[in-house]
Symmetry: C2
Subunit: 132 residues, 2 copies
């Protein structure tokens, strides 16, 4: 049976990968209600820790996520969803994926990030409004 092990804040971690590319698009969190609504509707719902509220992915941007498959891990404190991303991207910075910077390996000390697929695919100011 699905018996999620929510943390002290009532959340599980959710890893989101893109069906087409296999890339990790984002890492988000789900509370019981977000998890329930995602399962019931087949669309991604999350819980925003910054806004302290339930959040339907794409509610501002229109960039919804249709869930192709959902899995839960061995100790049920993390879920993995494979999605079809609607629109040009998942990241609030205007990129397809939130993971658009690589960390070079084999270094000690300060590390300079390197862009990977870092081009903006949409204008976040236009999509979310200038106030955000």
């Amino acid at each position: 049976m699905l018996a999620p092990k929510f943390d002290a804040d009532g959340l599980v971690t959710c890893v989101v990968t893109e069906a087409r590319s296999g890339d990790v698009l984002m890492v988000a969190h789900m509370n019981a209600q977000a998890l329930q609504q995602t399962i019931a509707t087949g669309e991604a719902w999350y819980f925003s820790r910054s806004r302290r509220s339930l959040w339907r992915k794409g509610e501002s941007s229109g960039h919804r996520q249709r869930v192709v498959e959902m899995r839960v891990d061995c100790d049920q404190d993390a879920v993995w969803i494979v999605v079809e991303q609607e629109g040009p991207g998942a990241c609030h910075t205007g990129r397809r994926s939130c993971f658009y910077r690589a960390v070079p390996l084999g270094k000690a000390g300060a590390v300079t990030l390197e862009f990977r697929d870092g081009e903006r695919t949409f204008d976040p100011d236009a999509v979310y409004g200038k106030t955000k």
Copy 2:
């Protein structure tokens, strides 16, 4: 620059995918030292929340992870590593991936999980010892 945003426990979330299959193998956590050692050595190091200690993946099982690529997300509170998994699997239950159960979509109420690639690829008692 890499400037990880560690949580109140000093951790970032780490998503681990397998280079060969693209599957999510596990979700773990890294503290500053685990992150540093992973970057420096190109092998996966984590912080075990249950044991409260630094943990080199494979130190008990021999099932090490060689990091092919590391990325950091937009707000630097999550990293994604693509790994080559040594040995038969990543999960302490004896499976290749921790995400061996699917959550059927379109349901309300109690949800029965369905196994996916759920066969054990190794015997965890033999690998970790009976006491674990």
